[in-house]
Symmetry: C2
């Protein structure tokens, strides 16, 4: 029997999604609650969770075991952020100010600001700088309870900078306890190319073969002014050949075929969906393509909200993520995203929890590995400094952890 | 000449409202920016702010002086939260969950939940418990950069509990570096009384004479189901006799005369204003009554937004506050409130900063004392761990301070 190396004892409760993802419909809000509870960990794995007397008897902590006092507190799984742009240089604080005075995100982008200003800064910086910034951002995420995060490229556009980003993400990943899942993102056509079609061929022929060695997924931004369905279809067909999971930024400002294409190519997710209508929501709900909702971005850009209740009730695989990036969601806090999901998307606290644990893990292909406090799972655990797990969403901007355990180590 | 006891050197910038409050119209967004900057402090007062070489020459730090390295960082005034309910027992996490499923705040109140559930918990607890909780809440505020905060009573309703709250606030204030400004709040009629009128007489005759010894201001909740104009007028006339500043919760769910009454009695502020129409906004803007906006509450309850742009542009004294309380805004973060003001109320970062520094200080009667980095002001200073002061609003949920100086002491 494995030795207990970390023991969290006498919690008010330990709370997890009731099953691993994908969770749909009513099961999204089903929790497994042990109350009171202790958790025994061996190395980087959870050994047991349950009644304190049972866990103590079956997995007694030895003399070397680290002990965490859970009295008056609750445990929940380390959070999983399945959509972030964590690697970039420069900031967009000035653009934020212009937007508060009424400029729209699309207007700023059309004027060469927006994504393109981050592209300029990212191209100018060194790989060392990029790795240092990504590492700092991963540290911020850990402070807010994120223990597994996706990180996209996409601020290079040209081959060299995209590869610089993916290498920087890999280096930062080695220097952080956070688990990082890298994604290659075709963000917007480089203006040096004649049109989006020509740039797409460049991406497919010149970047993707090399990027596929570093990334687990391939993402594309399907939107007015970026890529349209024909380019995205070509891109997905190529990315699939490398065994990459397929992701899509879709329906953020306009509906233009993202959902039908995602279903057609068997994408893992469509992310954003602020502009999705009733029909699109129902199509997505019937499919195996996850709906990744990004309410911090909708707040940041003052966009309409995605049809979260329709998606949940029609049975979609709903996940939540931060969309952390410098232009449209400079927010790395999943607890804040959960608050927004409850307040604005009318998801329950339980649905919100499953959406950024079990279902986010599913989106990253990590179901059964992270997202629950359950034997055999990676020991990623948050001990909330509150008597009720719902505080993680209820206490707006006030996420406070008494302890964070990452892969069995107390941070 | 006073000795320099704390020296913040070589900041990228030091940023303050350009003048002390009240600030109106265009002046709300006028900042005084020293860049680069150093700040010299003596005891609890600011001696000087300006060019590093000038400050260093005129106020050289002695051998005992505490030094803060400001390189790559920016300083701003400690924040002032002019509307909080920081003293209460119990929580409303269950109610938060019910609201995410569609229950309205007013429905919960009418069913005996809402404020009344906090009243029950607060009545049952001891003064020691209340003081400990208030102290913890003041600590949370300090973490988010608040250095001066109002704290209201109002969860007792009966004389003994209201006085218990005011004593607990006073005791907590002695144990925190935060400056606390206590307010007596007539929150909602106690259901033991025949009607709101009878309860108002009880408040005036039985509570106010004693409460006035502890509080600097008197507040009342003018709303359907709580107090109406005749009771509020009676209350204000009585409170004025004790020299208390007059505050009002008005136009939160319905317009029912709050603004005309506030102008009539010379109130310091009307707070909320989510239901205020164009005429009300213009009346308020022409008056000396401040408009205290609470966007975290509007988010928490998914309410319509107050007419912030009209208020600013018509010349109102606009302040921002958290409305920290367990039911309708469990949020102590003014940086988050500033983010919401920029994203949803379309206030600029500069307007947002003045609204929760100089203008909030005006609402608390502390103009010229706190809310600016300027000689003679109390040395309440935040050093933001960012290269641009706008990050305080731009970095959503990510307020990070490299240093916090409260009354000249490094926290």
């Amino acid at each position: 029997m494995s030795e207990t190396t970390l023991f969290i004892h006498d919690l008010e409760a330990a709370v997890s999604p009731a099953r691993s993802g994908p969770l749909r419909g009513k099961s999204l809000g089903d929790l497994e609650v042990h109350s009171p509870a202790s958790v025994a960990i061996s190395g980087d794995r959870i050994l047991a969770v349950g009644k304190p007397e049972d866990v103590l008897r079956e997995h007694p902590p030895g003399p070397e075991c680290v002990s965490v006092d859970g009295r008056g507190k609750v445990a929940m799984p380390g959070l999983v952020d399945c959509h972030t742009h964590a690697c970039f240089l420069g900031d967009r604080a000035r653009e934020f100010e212009l937007r508060s005075a009424g400029a729209s995100y699309e207007e700023l982008h059309a004027a060469g600001g927006g994504i393109l200003s981050t592209v300029s800064a990212t191209r100018e910086g060194s790989e060392d700088e990029l790795a240092a910034v990504a590492e700092r951002h991963f540290g911020w995420m850990l402070e807010h309870g994120t223990m597994t995060a996706e990180a996209k490229s996409g601020y290079g556009l040209d081959r060299d900078t995209e590869m610089k980003m993916l290498r920087a993400i890999a280096r930062a990943a080695e220097n952080t306890p956070l688990d990082v899942s890298p994604t290659f993102l075709a963000h917007t056509p480089d203006r040096e190319f004649e049109d989006a079609g020509a740039y797409t061929e460049y991406v497919i022929n010149e970047i993707l073969p090399e990027a596929a060695k570093h990334a687990r997924a391939a993402d594309i931004f399907l939107e007015r002014g970026s890529f349209e369905v024909p380019e995205a279809r070509r891109y997905f067909e190529a990315a699939r050949e490398y065994g990459l999971a397929l992701r899509m930024h879709g329906d953020q400002f306009t509906e233009r075929g993202a959902i039908p294409l995602a279903v057609e190519v068997g994408a893992k997710s469509v992310d954003h969906l602020e502009a999705t209508g009733d029909e699109g929501a129902k199509t997505l709900a019937k499919s195996d393509v996850a709906a990744v909702l990004l309410p911090a971005c909708a707040l940041f850009l003052d966009l309409p909200l995605p049809p979260a209740r329709t998606l949940v009730e029609e049975g979609a695989i709903v996940a939540l993520a931060t969309d952390f990036n410098p232009g449209s969601s400079f927010c790395e806090s999943l607890p804040l995203v959960m608050s927004l999901a409850c307040m604005r998307l009318k998801m329950s606290p339980a649905e919100s929890l499953s959406a950024c644990t079990a279902n986010a893990a599913h989106v990253l292909g990590m179901s059964g590995e992270v997202g629950r406090i359950s034997p055999g799972y990676r020991a990623d655990i948050l001990v909330l400094d509150a008597p009720d797990w719902r505080y993680v969403a209820y206490h707006l901007g006030g996420d406070r952890f008494a302890a964070r355990v990452k892969s069995g180590e107390l941070l």
